[in-house]
Amino acid sequence: MNILEVKDLCKTYIINKRQNNVLKNVNFSVSEGEMVAIMGPSGSGKSTLLYTVSGMDTLTAGEVKFCGKDIAKLSEKELAGLRLDEMGFIFQQMHMLKNLTVLDNIILPATQSEKANETRKETVQRGHELMRKLGIIDIADNDINEVSGGQLQRACICRSMINNPKMIFADEPTGALNRTSSDEVMAELAKLNSDGTTIMLVTHDVKVAARCTRVMYIVDGNIKGEYNLNRYENESQMRERERALNNWLMEMGW
């Protein structure tokens, strides 16, 4: 079943009265359980694509259906509700509210949502479970500036999962992390995906993309090619996957 269907998507920005066509007639779909990476040179429209299909930015033309709902026809409130209940977001900059603890940041979307219909105690319990799953339970009561980048990004993953979303959107989730932390974060995302969460992410990192089941290469606002990787079963397959992906990207003009 397709969670996301994109048809003839166009996005245009007007900057200093000049029209900038960032996305031009983009077509693709994402099935349930996939982990899709979007790669491409700088300025190719990767992040714009991610934000437009997730409803964080408006589309200029075309159609984006998320779980059958045309997001262009939703009001601001309905779109916010969709993002709250059905989508999760992870950003490169790991924005969190500095006056809340790590746990409070994680459960924040749940306090706003009526999806789970639970008490605060139950929400906190679920937050703890997620943190335990991602190995960061020890930092639950810490301030966000008392934790490492890797821990904070894993907290962002927990936050993105708290409302049991159908799909997670991640923009350069490892962009601000060192190699070790990147590997840890990607391992967690891969685990989530293997548990059934659909993920779409933007990345420059081949190692990150190699963990995905599909890679889309975008150039000048158009999807130039797609590469299917399927699932990997163990870490020893990673080197081969990276090599194969690298070769394909070189062919694409990377």
Binding site: M56, D57, E76, K77, A80, R83, G88, Q92, Q93
Partner: protein, 385 residues
């Protein structure tokens, strides 16, 4: 979230809280001062007794009686007043305060002062701040100013240079009077005062003798106004206000200040909220990205100002009376109220109406300013450092 923001970084909000408290307190001080200037209790600080009705009538009769010094004429006018009111079903007693200027001596000190004697009153009807009321015809109560000028205390004997010679009077107590900026001597009602030396009088005062309830008092007041004209009939508060002559002026200042304070609060709220939005763009964009809509963000930001506004209001209400005392009592003291004033604190105005006006101003400014967050898109969460 809003409360958490304030508790986590209180320094950030201190300047706003301080501004709100200052603005609200200034308004509440003026409110209390205006109410005090219009309160019946102030009559006591003019050295008079508080009556149910004050009447500025029969001015020609009073003037002629004062000039001729005929006590009987004054008493006759009071009797006439009582009779006219009895005819419309209102029973009570009329009285009037008379002024005489005398030279006073004590030791080497000499001072010319206004003195008071009540017609159809007794000295125990007045308030004395120290000592007791004059009980005998040769006893007086004096104000602090007179005591200082004569260097006389309670228990001393002062000399009043009256028409028939120098007469000794025992000082039994102190009272305060804003008449003649604190100058005053009160004679016993039976003191040997020569009415031919009268220099003036105040309005007639009328007291009901049957202790009516408030509703009855209001009905009677209306009847008396119908009889003698609204402009000539006053409550104790109206009399006090007319006597100071500044009630309306202070009232006007109060409303002007309220207007200025509203503008200041709006500006402070607007500027502070804009600076918060500028600093928190990333957080706002992230909240929107994870599913908070604009109205949730507006509510969060506004709630901060509501909390600050409520806390500031409570503090302002609590400190307004002590601040009024600190700021305004010296002014009353300069006017002759040596022992200060009991301020008329109208709880409805001080604790509800004015704080609500300022709180509503805060909320409206905050809501309107925080609508600016509408321009922050969820996608900006990725581009803000």
């Amino acid at each position: 979230m809003a409360l958490n923001d304030i508790l986590s970084a209180p320094k950030r909000f201190l300047s706003i809280i301080f501004t709100y408290i200052l603005c609200m307190t200034i308004v509440l001080v003026l409110v209390t001062t205006t109410n005090t200037l219009r309160s019946g209790e102030l009559v006591n600080i003019f050295g008079l007794h508080e009556s149910d009705v004050f009447l500025s009538i029969y001015s020609e009769d009073i003037l002629s009686a004062v000039v001729s010094g005929e006590r009987e004429k004054l008493e006759g006018t009071m009797t006439r007043l009582e009779t006219e009111l009895e005819e419309i079903g209102i029973e009570g007693e009329a009285s009037i305060e008379l002024f005489i200027k005398y030279n006073l001596k004590h030791g080497d000190n000499m001072f010319k002062s206004m003195t008071l004697i009540g017609l159809n009153t007794t000295t125990d009807m007045y308030i004395y701040n120290e000592g007791t009321a004059p009980q005998n015809p040769n006893e007086v109560a004096i104000t602090q100013l007179v005591a200082e000028k004569l260097d006389a205390e309670i228990g001393d004997t002062i000399i009043v240079c009256q028409e028939h010679g120098e007469v000794e009077y025992l000082v039994t107590g102190y009272y305060q009077s804003m008449n003649n900026l604190g100058e005053g001597v009160r004679f016993h009602q039976d003191a040997p005062v020569d009415f031919s030396m009268l220099s003036g009088s105040l309005s007639f005062q009328f007291d009901y003798t049957d202790s009516p309830d408030e509703k009855t008092k209001e009905e009677r007041f209306k009847k008396i106004e119908d009889l003698y004209g609204e402009e000539n009939v006053m409550t104790a508060g109206e009399f006090a206000e007319r006597s100071t002559g500044v009630g309306d002026a202070i009232d006007a200042i109060k409303y002007l200040t309220l207007g200025l304070v509203i503008i200041i609060i709006m500006l402070v709220t607007l500027l502070t909220e804009r600076s918060f939005i500028a600093k928190e763009q990333g957080e706002i964009a992230t909240l929107k990205a994870i599913g908070f809509n604009t109205s949730s963000v507006v509510a969060w930001h506004t709630l901060r100002f509501v909390i600050i506004g409520v806390v500031s209001s409570i503090i302002a209400v609590l400190i307004s009376t002590p601040v009024t005392n600190l700021a305004i009592t010296p002014v009353f003291k300069m006017m002759g109220a040596a022992y200060g004033v009991n301020y008329e604190v109208n709880l409805l105005e001080v604790a509800v109406i004015y704080p609500t006006i300022l709180l509503v101003t805060t909320i409206i400014s905050s809501v309107l300013t925080s609508l600016y967050t509408k321009t922050i898109k969820p996608s900006q969460a990725s581009s803000i450092e």
